[in-house]
Amino acid sequence: MKITISAPIETVPEFLAHALELENESVERYEQLADSMETHNNLEVAELFQKLAGFGDKHAQEVTEHAAGMQLPRIPPWDFKWTSGEAPENQGFDEVSYLMTPCQALRMSLHNERLGRDFYAHVADTTPTAQVRALAREFAAEEGEHVRLLEQWIDSLAECNEPPPEDMDPPNMPE
């Protein structure tokens, strides 16, 4: 998936409003997935999603600190400049399953972190404003670090080399 924006982001407050929405949406989605997995008794993955929500929350706090003293624009949900419909780090969540493994959850998270990194990099490449460019590069580097950590985490899981578990209670479908 290629990240694009509808128009360059020109000011720091506008950029931070986008970053805050991206991070908050990601946190909210991970929390929702954690609840969902807990409801479906996949406690291991529930805990993992909760942990990922916590990481996202820390990043959202960092963005908030960058925005201290600034008046961020209130952007209607449909006017954010990413063209992906949802925030860049909120992709692929329709692929989750109540049986998903920690490895699958981490791979999904890795996919989204890469999209987040690409979004910030694209903003840096397209903005006409030096301050926005510098901030976007800083955020892209941070997301790149998250990508690296997730790759290491996935590499450390032995289950990632095994096939996904079979659904022993499949939906009621005819043969």
Partner: protein, 276 residues
């Protein structure tokens, strides 16, 4: 870009009840869009009522921090109409699924359209009865064979919600996609602001019983033209449409029906009529 002033964040409209929807369900996107729309409109939680019928989608009131009524199968619009008649000051939203709204509640749907009360009706359409494990609904294609009840398909042409809404007199007809919460939020905002009955069909994939609907994200596309207020044009567009177009299709304004709510009798007089 326009500025809005909202005292509440979208999350404040969510309740602490954890959804039992399957992970990956499209309805999560609708919940998100509803909360964003209410936050964008800066509506106080106590000024909004969300009424539903029965089904997966009808669990929505439990997941929001609003006045809620999880009613009887297919009767959400009847309950909501009564509520709006008694409390016109409330913003009344109705949510349900394609089975609840177009089969069991089909009759209420027709008359809600023509009555034109100031209500926004969200139908989360996944073309299946999910809560009862995957039977064909009114919007299911006639050749869908993946149910034990209809192993050869229903053989019945599917219900066209937009066409029925238009023919029944709805004054706002739109279609959104749960995988596009931003676009869906915009439609919801417009539906809530519309004075009259606003019908919003939301394509909301059932990832468990209709996993092929995950492909909808590649199939949806915006309507080619802006909304029309001409019913003939709207009808032509509906007939030519592939069912995957999203956006506002039709909007017109006619008087909103709202009873006067005058006191016509004292309670004591009313009680007298029930003396045995």
């Amino acid at each position: 870009m326009t500025a809005t002033q909202s005292p509440l964040k979208p999350k404040a409209y969510k309740s602490s009840v954890k959804p039992v929807w399957c992970p990956g369900c499209g309805h999560f996107g609708v919940l998100s869009a509803v909360t964003k729309a209410l936050a964008h409109l800066a509506l106080a939680r106590e000024e909004v009522a969300l009424v539903s019928g029965i089904g997966c989608s009808s669990r929505l009131p439990a997941y929001t921090e609003l006045y809620g009524f999880h009613g009887v199968h297919g009767r959400a619009l009847a309950v909501a109409s009564g509520l709006k008649a008694a409390r016109p000051d409330l913003t009344v939203l109705v949510a349900g699924g394609d089975g609840d709204g177009f089969s069991i509640g089909g009759n209420h749907f027709l008359h809600a359209c023509r009555r034109n009360m100031d209500i926004a009706y969200i139908v989360m359409d996944n073309e299946v009865y999910g809560m009862t494990k995957g039977q064909a609904s009114p919007t299911t294609a006639p050749d869908w064979t993946h149910s034990k009840l209809t192993p050869h398909g229903t053989g019945i042409p599917s219900f066209n919600p937009a066409a029925i809404a238009l023919a029944s007199g709805a004054t706002f007809i739109a279609r959104g996609f749960s995988g596009d919460p931003g676009g869906l939020t915009r439609l919801l905002v417009e539906a809530i602001q519309h004075p009259g009955f606003a019908f919003l069909q939301v394509l909301s994939p059932c990832t468990t019983f209709r996993p092929e609907q995950k492909e909808w994200k590649k199939m949806v596309h915006p309507f080619d033209e802006d909304a029309t207020g001409n019913p003939v044009e709207a009808a032509q567009r509906i007939v030519a449409d592939d069912g995957m177009s999203t956006g506002l299709l039709y909007r017109t304004r006619i008087p909103v029906w709202q009873p006067a709510n005058r006191v016509s009798m004292e309670v004591s007089e009313l009680e007298g009529g029930f003396q045995v």
